[in-house]
Symmetry: C3
Subunit: 263 residues, 3 copies
């Protein structure tokens, strides 16, 4: 299948070039996302000081901004890194963790989108809906919203921001505003491990670093997340072992495993 | 046994309602405590920005304050979150990590207790004794103190602060100032994994979110920690596998496992 | 062999005295390094507040400074802790993560070396070469440099700074400026797990706390890292399981395992 070829091609490019992915992300998941990037063959760097954010972003092949444990000084560094990337046409992946939960998060999301023009935005259904609502200056977030409703928000958000937008969930949706890709791989155990969404955003950075089409890069990344997660869940006794097995699956992922697992 | 029924009832309530637990905690353990809360069925959020601390605490069913890697800006957020919780009668769990080690920690402990009036305080013997000494403005902390001596400090601290006080150790003691519960489950391997105490505090937050009696909530939480830890240690080759197996045990914990392991 | 006796003697001293190791380190690895220190028998503390850095460093048997996710407030605390240690003749281990990547990192490295006079400096080949270049005020860092070239930088750096200098890599080199020790143990899987280098620095802190000779302490630490890592890799399906098995191996490490694995 063409799809599998594309995923394998990107995966091989990541392992060959080991692109540097600059992450300004949250405390909870830094270890996991660094390990996921290493497992897949990329080269992670975490650096948030205002003093070096531009220089580090300038070295990177993709910049991942994640507001999970945001605070003003970190947001400032995110903006600097994101603007540097924008200038250099380096892809920016934005993960709006907890968008809609507080006014502060909503403001920060708005500012990051306006100033950094993310290439890819990835969140869960609630976050994507919240983000769309913030963008359109309306109110109200329904965290129990159906995926279909979130998909419409994602589509509109993609049109407005010119980003590829990903909704992670039981089925993942990826849209560029016109087309929609869906990824059905994954496991119900995955959302019970913290930072799986953040890891998806980091992995998306690795794919965006080697694939110039953000819509395809995001789709391939979600396949790899779903396939590795599904394979790991199949041999895990619980959420602790899933976290470990997921890294092993990423590390060992190859065409054969992809072909055997993809839906 | 009535005891087992109470634990199971709380556990089912956590899994049914998935209460939001707002943690302002230390960098070392954030991943573990988030995963432990997810494994048991609760919904963790880590957020420390002064800009959103009140709003986030206002959404939560329990607030967990942990000073492991404290600094002034984080302490300020803890006070805001704790005071918000106090106003809304949301339970506040306080983990005085390293109390007694430095003057700064002692001051912060005093301020958190005074302004946030924690519902439950959980620490090891040294920390509870240091906390009691700080409260009574005397000096001297003996980290090699016998549990019995710490228990008297805990009892006095409970009376003074109106909190349920937990001493974690080979035997855990939980007191409301009058009565004392003891939990003998656990494993000597547990203190060799970082953040097991912090995880106990986070899990206590989940129980406090569903059980209106802090003394019982804390007792049930300590049983669950001890039972899951003991079961995990029984099939672990070392501290690395214990950390993983512990999450699996929490995830799979049910009445049968509790009944088979409780002492 | 004399070498094995020395490693075992230090290991036993760590387990007997459980020295307090004060770490001001990066967010990505805090959990791993704390767990590695606990697994080997030491007692880790992570504390970065300016308000308590001197007091905490004053309690410690070794201070580990790691600039992986540096920012000005943390650097200030590192300087305070390092200067306190210097005054008290407590060993200071310095890990110049990412030296050479940004101007800010280079400045901070220079300041830490000047003001804290580290007892042991540990980095990879690029970092050690960058550090040497910063010290000599010349420019240019070649991250693909051969080990031999890095070794000459390490030797000069050791002479200039009076520190034992460690280059981690496929073969580890440890030098006091005159002599060179080499450690061939390890696994190619180890650099694919985040923070293995940072863990090496933390473990070096534990050995420096019990062995008054920094050159020997650093050598013994690198043997223990390489031996535990090699044994763990031998039974790991990927990088996720390596991270776990490594802690189990550290926890279980004894003379027999060392004797069976050392090269």
């Amino acid at each position: 299948m063409e799809k599998i070829d594309g995923i394998v091609r990107d995966l091989e490019a990541i392992r060959l070039h080991s692109p540097l992915i600059h992450n300004i992300t949250n405390y909870v998941v830094m270890n996991n996302t660094a390990n996921a990037l290493l497992a897949i063959g990329a080269s992670p760097v975490m650096a948030h000081a205002r003093e070096e954010a531009a220089e580090m972003a300038g070295l990177a092949s993709a910049v991942v901004l994640n507001i999970g444990t945001l605070e003003p000084a970190w947001v400032e560094a995110m903006l600097v890194a994101g603007e540097t990337a924008l200038e250099k046409e380096t892809p920016v992946i934005f993960d709006p963790v907890g968008a809609g939960a507080t006014a502060y998060r909503n403001e920060v999301c708005k500012e990051i989108i306006e100033r950094c023009a993310p290439t890819i935005i990835r969140g869960n259904a609630s976050e994507i809906m919240a983000l769309y609502n913030v963008q359109t200056r309306t109110k109200g977030v329904d965290s129990t919203a159906a995926s279909g409703e979130a998909l419409e928000s994602a589509r509109q958000l993609a049109v407005q921001t010119n980003a590829a937008v990903v909704i992670s969930g039981e089925t993942d949706y990826i849209t560029n505003g016109q087309e929609v890709h869906t990824v059905a791989n994954g496991s119900a155990l995955m959302p019970r491990v913290t930072g799986m969404g953040c890891t998806a955003s980091a992995i998306t950075g690795a794919f965006a670093a080697v694939n110039p089409d953000p819509f395809l890069a995001a789709t391939h990344a979600m396949y790899v997340m779903g396939i590795a997660g599904e394979r790991a869940a199949g041999r895990s006794a619980g959420t602790g072992s899933l976290q470990m097995n997921f890294l092993d699956e990423l590390y060992n992922l190859n065409e054969e495993a992809i072909r055997a697992t993809i839906r």
